[in-house]
Point group: C3
C-alpha cells in the first residue's frame, strides 16, 4: 500500500497484504498468505543497532499470520504459522512462539521466553523474560508474569505455565511459580506459590478455592473443565471434539 518502507534483505511470501505506513526492516522473513496491518514495524532494531546503527538480526514469521496495526516485532525472534496479533503489540528479541498463537492488543512480550502452540493471550498481557508457556494455554487481560524474586536484581526466574492452564484477568504471578496443567487462576489472583493440577486458586495471596472439575455452567449445570472437552474454536479439534481428535492422532 502507501508509504511502506521495505528495507533490503527482506523476504515476503506470496499472497501477503502489507498495509500502509509499515516498516519492514532488514532480516525479516514473512511467509505466505500473511496480513500486516498499517503502522506496523517488523524487524525492530535491538540495542546493538541503537549503539552502532548497523547491526541486524533475523525475524522469522510463519505463514497465514495476521498482524494488526501498530504492532512492533523485534528481530531475533521466531514465530510459527497462523499467528494472530491485536493492535499495538510489542514482541521483543529472543521470543520463540509456536504455531496458532494469538496475542491480544497492547500485549507486551518481553522476549527471552518460550511460548508453545495454540496459546491464546487476550489484550494487555505482560510476559516477563524467562517465562515458559506450554501448549493450549489461555491468558486473559492485564495478567502479568513476573520474573525477579528480589527486585531489582540480575537473577530472573520465569513463571512456567503448563498445558491447558487458564489465567483469568488481572492476575499477577510471582517469579518461579509453576502453574500446573488444567489449573485455573481466578481473576484478580496474586499467585505466590505453585498451583496444582486441576486446582482453582484465587485471592491475595492466592489460595486453593476448589477443583476445576466441580465448576458447572451456571445455565446448563454441565461441567465446563477441563475446557478442552467443551471448547473448540480455533483448536485442532475444531471439526470434531478433543477425544476424537486425540484418538485419531494416536491411531495414526
Amino acid at each position: 500500500m502507501h508509504n511502506c518502507i521495505i528495507e533490503d534483505d527482506v523476504h515476503i511470501g506470496q499472497n501477503c497484504y502489507i498495509d500502509s505506513n509499515c516498516i519492514i526492516r532488514q532480516g525479516t522473513k514473512l511467509s505466505d498468505n500473511s496480513f500486516v496491518g498499517a503502522n506496523t514495524i517488523l524487524g525492530e532494531h535491538q540495542m546493538d543497532f541503537i549503539k552502532d546503527h548497523k547491526s541486524h538480526h533475523e525475524l522469522i514469521i510463519g505463514s497465514n499470520a495476521v498482524i494488526r496495526s501498530g504492532s512492533i516485532i523485534y528481530t531475533g525472534t521466531r514465530i510459527g504459522n497462523y499467528f494472530q496479533s491485536g493492535h499495538q503489540v510489542t514482541i521483543r528479541e529472543k521470543a520463540s512462539i509456536g504455531n496458532h498463537c494469538s496475542i491480544g492488543t497492547l500485549s507486551d512480550i518481553q522476549g527471552y521466553c518460550n511460548i508453545g502452540n495454540y496459546v491464546n493471550m487476550h489484550s494487555n498481557v505482560h510476559i516477563g523474560q524467562e517465562s515458559v508457556i506450554d501448549d493450549y494455554v489461555w491468558i486473559f487481560p492485564y495478567v502479568v508474569l513476573t520474573n525477579d524474586p528480589t527486585p531489582p536484581s540480575e537473577e530472573l526466574q520465569g513463571v512456567h505455565v503448563h498445558s491447558f492452564a487458564i489465567i483469568a484477568a488481572h492476575s499477577v504471578i510471582l517469579p518461579d511459580v509453576d502453574i500446573a496443567s488444567d489449573s485455573l487462576v481466578a481473576a484478580g489472583a496474586n499467585v505466590t506459590k505453585n498451583v496444582e493440577e486441576y486446582a482453582v486458586v484465587g485471592g491475595n495471596p492466592a489460595k486453593k478455592l476448589g477443583d476445576v472439575r466441580n465448576i458447572k455452567n451456571h445455565v446448563t449445570g454441565e461441567a465446563v473443565y477441563p475446557w478442552r472437552f467443551h471448547f473448540k474454536r480455533r483448536m485442532p479439534w475444531e471439526d470434531s471434539d478433543f477425544v476424537t481428535w486425540i484418538n485419531g492422532l494416536s491411531e495414526n
Copy 2:
C-alpha cells in the same frame, strides 16, 4: 497535514483538523469541528477485510471530536458528539458510544458494547464485549470489565454499570455483575457480586465497606457523594448545579 491517506467514500465535516500520517478508511464519516491527531487510523478494517481485502463498513463519529494521536477506531462503530480520546486508544467494531464521552490513553474498547452519554474513562481501561455502561459513569485506570464466566467459553455475559457509578483504579469486575447507580468500587477491588445503590465496596473479594453518603472531604469535612451534587466539570450542569439543571429539564 502531511502524508495522510484518505480513502474514497470518506466524509469529513467542516472545520476539521487532520494531523499528519493519518489513515482514514472508506466508510468513515467524521462531523464538523473535529480534531484528529497524528498517526490515527479511523475506519480500521474488520476481520472480513483481512480475509477478502475488500469488505467495508461504516464508522460514524459526531461533531466536535478530539481524537488524540495513535488511536485506532474500527468501522462498524458509532460515536456521538463531543467525543474525546487519549492516545493509542483502540475501539473495535460494534461499539455504540453516546455524546460527551471521554476515553483515556491506551484504553481498549473491545466492541459489541453499549456506552451511554457523559461517560468518562481514564487511561488504560479495558471494556469487554457485551458490557453496558449507562450515563454519567466514571471508570479509572487499569479497570477491567470481564465477560466470560468460565473462560474459555463462547457465552459472554457483560458487566452492567449503572448511571453515576464510579469504578476506581485497578479494579476488576467479574462477568454479569451489576454495579448499581451511585455506588463506588474502591481502588484495587475484585468485584464478584452485584453492588447495591450507594454502596462502597472494596477488597479481594470485594465486600461492602460502607455507604457513599457517609464519605467526607478530608479537608472540608463536607459530603462528596453522590458526586453529581459536588462535581460539574464537563457535565451538562457545568454552568449551574445539578439540582438547578435537573429542575430546569423537568420544567421544560
Copy 3:
C-alpha cells in the same frame, strides 16, 4: 530517515539518529547523541493547540536519549540526559524528569509530576498527576500511582515515592500516600496508608509483612536489601560499589 516531519524551530543536536516516520514539532530541543525510534512524536500538542491550531511550547530532552518507536512526548516537559524509553510510551505536559531515567513500554506519565534521577520504571506504569518520585526509585509493570481521594474531584493529591523505594508489579498506590526510602511494596499490593522506611508491605489492603533487611537471596542466603549495596547496573556506582562511590562523593 524516511518520511520524517521536522517542523520549524526544532533543535536537534549532533550525532542524533532519527528513524522513519517521526514527527518532531515546533519547540522541541533534543541534545547530542540521541536515538529516536520510528513513528515517534516529539513535542506533541497540548490542549491549547487543539483549540487554536497555533499555540506552541517547548520540549527539552537532554543528551544521549534513547526514545523507542511509537512514543509520544508532549511539549511543556523537560527530560534530563541519558533518558531511555520503551515503545508506545506517553509523557504529557509539565512532567519534569531527571537524568538517567528509564520509562518502559506502554507507560503513561500523566504530566504535572516530578521524577528524580536514576528512576527506573518498567513496562506499563501509570504515573498520575501530582506524583513526586525521588531519585533511585524502581517501579515495576502495571503499577498505578493514583491521585484523587474522592473521585471524581478537582483536588488531586499525588503519591510521594522516596529514594531507593521499590514498588513491585501490579500494585496500586492510593492518593497522598508516602512510600518511604528503602521500603518495598510487594507485587499486587493495594497501598492505602503510608509505608515506613525499610518496611515490606503487601496484600489488599496492604499490611506490613516485614523488614527488607531480613530478605535473603533464596540461593546464596545473603541479604539483598537495601538494594543499593547489591545492585549496580546503570547506577553511578556501576564501576565500583555504592559505599566506595558515596565516600568518593563526600571526599570531593
